[in-house]
């Protein structure tokens, strides 16, 4: 008996009688006696709802959220404003609680939303076919690799060092299973150096804008891949795509990306969703669910899960992917958010970021002891280096309630004391000015400290 389990003692007695056994224990007769636990699990007593609430609130209070500091953290997930209507719609039990729409007649809501979502992703990426979502950005990159491996059948990927380190690592993990090799194309001046692509390459994988915030010359990269008979996979940040040439227009074959920025919470990294769009040639290799239009018996428009013969539940070991449960609710948030932004709004939002990012970049790189890590065009994020130990500089800024960004050291030790600074519509000029002020001071203090240390 618990607040979630309705069977009363009387219910249990009656039910056992109908079954024809004496006790619930009898129902577990197939379990070898030696395997049955004799002591309760070490999980303690169940708590009242308010006790659980208090505990979870206490845990939350020990996290510094974007409401608790002025945060310039990005590097793959960004502090965007999620409009209230997203929560209001996605919290409706009709969207929140159903399973994958296996019975389309009672799932038109979810299926139509998927279809709308696919349309929006297709518009953003400039590619004709989108699936209904995959897990998240980095695993989408790996999943794209899997598609390319099968489509092209060669043994190597060339991956730009400008691709998110998590994506590169995830690809490496999964490629172990496929027996693929990976070579990295280094960055030069902030963007991917045009790599050598031989006839053993299945795909060239790049990111737009890349991890250092720089806008890549996608078209040139895709063209050289095409000439070598390889596919181009591009991981893209969807909001800058409001301004940037669409991957599809640039010759990209598979565009994937992290969907968090489209109406999803930060949630310490998940759940969000990954999007996945391809050229016509690749449609039957797409992983995951796809909603498609059709008609019912009366000729009315309706939507179904389509092209299911790609999938694990039909094709089993021959499936294009093993994915089953994906991120439908997060993708729903995505299409609601994109409808909220709208055709003009998404451009305005991107331009606001562009302008503020330019402003912030100018302000910060004008500081003593701060320099740009590259001069490439950027939309919403840029990389700088500080002339002092960056982690100490960060700590110092945080004492003033400002989190200046993501230190690049772990992922790009070659870049020295790098810092990746992200701007969204949430970061006002006033906050950027404050960042400049505290960062400038922090760098100055730390430089003095190290001079003193050197001096002493």
């Amino acid at each position: 008996m618990s607040r979630y389990t309705p069977a009363t003692d009387a219910d249990r007695r009656e039910m056992l009688e109908v079954i024809g056994v004496d006790s619930i224990e009898d129902l577990f007769a197939d379990i070898p006696a030696g395997l049955r636990l004799t002591a309760p699990l070490g999980l303690g007593r169940g708590l009242a709802e308010q006790e659980v609430y208090d505990e979870l609130r206490a845990l939350a209070a020990r996290n510094t959220s974007t409401e608790d500091e002025v945060s310039f953290l990005g590097a793959g997930m960004y502090d965007h404003y999620v409009p209230a209507l997203v929560d209001s719609i996605t919290s409706r039990s009709e969207f929140l609680t159903p399973y994958t729409p296996y019975q389309p007649e009672v799932s038109q809501g979810g299926l139509q939303a998927m279809f709308e979502y696919q349309t929006a992703i297709s518009e953003l990426t400039g590619l004709p076919f989108s699936n209904a979502s995959v897990y998240e950005g980095p695993s989408a990159v790996a999943a794209a690799g899997y598609v390319a491996k099968h489509a092209v059948g060669r043994r190597r990927f060339v991956v730009s060092s400008g691709v998110h380190p998590h994506s590169r690592e995830t690809l490496r993990t999964l490629a172990q299973g496929w027996g693929m090799e990976i070579t990295e194309a280094p960055l030069h001046g902030g963007v991917t150096e045009l790599p050598e692509i031989d006839d053993q390459v299945s795909a060239v994988i790049v990111q737009q804008p890349n991890f250092l915030g720089a806008v890549e010359d996608l078209e040139t990269l895709a063209e050289s891949a095409r000439q070598a008979g390889a596919l181009t996979i591009c991981a893209c940040d969807p909001l800058p795509l409001a301004l940037l040439r669409a991957p599809g227009e640039c010759g990209v074959d598979i565009a994937v990306g992290e969907g968090q920025t489209l109406g999803n919470r930060l949630d310490f990294g998940g759940p969000s969703f990954g999007f996945f769009a391809v050229t016509e040639a690749l449609i039957r290799r797409l992983p995951g669910r796809i909603a498609g239009e059709t008609r019912d018996l009366d000729g009315r428009r309706g939507f179904v899960l389509t092209l299911q013969t790609r999938e694990q539940h039909i094709r089993r070991e021959k499936a294009t992917s093993n994915i089953c449960t994906a991120q439908a609710l997060n993708a729903l948030a995505g299409i609601i958010y994109l409808s909220w932004l709208g055709r003009r709004g998404i451009v305005e939002l991107a331009e606001l970021m562009l302008q503020r990012t330019a402003y912030a970049r100018e302000r910060l790189t004008a500081l003593e002891g701060v320099r740009a890590l590259h001069e490439q065009p950027v939309v919403r994020e840029f990389a700088i280096a500080v002339d002092a130990p960056v982690k100490r500089v960060i700590e110092r800024c945080r004492k003033h309630g400002v989190n200046p960004g993501y230190p690049l050291g772990r992922d790009y030790p070659e870049l020295g004391e790098g810092l990746l600074v992200a701007i969204t519509e949430r970061r006002t000029r006033e906050e950027i000015d404050r960042l400049a002020e505290v960062l400038g001071e922090a760098v100055a203090v730390e430089r003095r400290r190290s001079y003193q240390r050197v001096g002493s």
């Binding site: 070898p32 929006a120 498609g292």
Partner: protein, 500 residues
Amino acid sequence: MIAAADDELTIFERSRPGRRAFEPPPLDVSERPLDELLEPRLRRSEPPRLPEVTEPEIVRHYNRLSKRNFDLDAGFYPLGSCTMKHNPKLHERVAALPGHAKLHPLQDPSRAQGALELMWRLQSALSEIAGLPHVSLQPSAGSHGELAGVLLTRSFHEDRGQHRSKVLTPDTAHGTNPATVTMAGYEVVKVGTDERGNVDLDDLRAKADDEVACLMLTNPSTLGLFEPAIEEIAEIVHGVGATLYYDGANLNAIMGICRPGEMGFDIVHFNLHKSFTQPHGGGGPGAGPIAVSDRIEPFLPRPQVVRRESAGNGSSNPLYDLDYDRPKSIGRLRGFQGNYGVFVRSYAYIRSLGAAGLRDVSEVAVLNANYLLAKLRQVGVLEYLPAGYDRLCMHEFVLSGAPMKQELSIKTLDLAKRLLDHGVHPPTVYFPLLVDEALLVEPTETETKETLDRFAEILADILSEAREDPEIARTAPHTTPVRRLDEASAARRPVVRQPL
């Protein structure tokens, strides 16, 4: 694009130039020419043609759409293998607390101690439930957990210099199992099922050789049956040096009753969106943490949440941290640390129930399933829909619609569609593949006896209706927003986006 009635338009069809829901905050920096910041060559020629709509239109559009979905809060949803149990509302509240929901994934661990401690505690709880000492929360869903598990197996063998080529899966396995095996670069070898519904031990013995890297098993199986010979199975598998993988989709049957670890499993995945109440969201999000034995531990994905006994800064509090220093790790499976929002809900659930509550969950899940099966027998439904295997079941059971098809001329699919007219979601149909015209029924523990009784009555009514007039079921559903949909033509000429 097929024309649609007004209340079924897409959001794109509702668009009118000039409408907007988003209003940007004012530009507060001095504006620089666009060309200067981004050369025209890099820019797109036309903005993406997103819908132009106001807030009231978006709200009404998606609210109306939502009403075209059936959901768990509206009625019985006995979808076998999916554990459609009630999703406590508290979980949505705690997951939305800004300290959880607005926490950046790259926040420094020192400022994410609450989140890391929660993850650490969830790891401990899952470890306790599985009876295996180590847990990684990283995988995003069940099948992602499977992939992690088979890649762990691969690393485990390779670390010992072994290059095995095959993975065994029973013929009752869920589709993700063989699909995963292929993705992990192994060959699938199917193991048969005996007439009682158990793994065919002779077949297993015959196929278990030193090319076998792993046996993936669901227990209770997808037939809703517990493998009584599980200890023997483990012995056979371990005997050839392979690992034993536990597909945890059916964990709801045995929580607090027995543990995969003691059964001999090396690797277990959990579906937090099944046994641990993450709402399914119409197809996710979920999470598929894995628990493993000591010998598998070195290969776990990176980073791993760890607890260091002292924060080091003079304080005696433990410090929770992300450990990247795992040289044998298979590496990352995804971005960041996993689906934390899901962890919050599942952790809340485990705390709400505690040890006794969790055991009660499984007891009642099994009681409800057996009661419903007995009730179906009592009201005569089993005459046309016999149980796949005539024995006590665990938390779900499989029926065969073959006699119904022959005697009443309606198929399992027709029965399923007719159930929709009664406001009930059908069970899983045509799975497992082993049973002809299969229906897999999983009532879960959060349903009342009254609901089970009513479901039995409805099934009986549909069967007697079919005896009179099978056409009704064959053309069902009749009361849903749309009628049966033409899936074949959708796949033939796929229209997967709106032409604009």
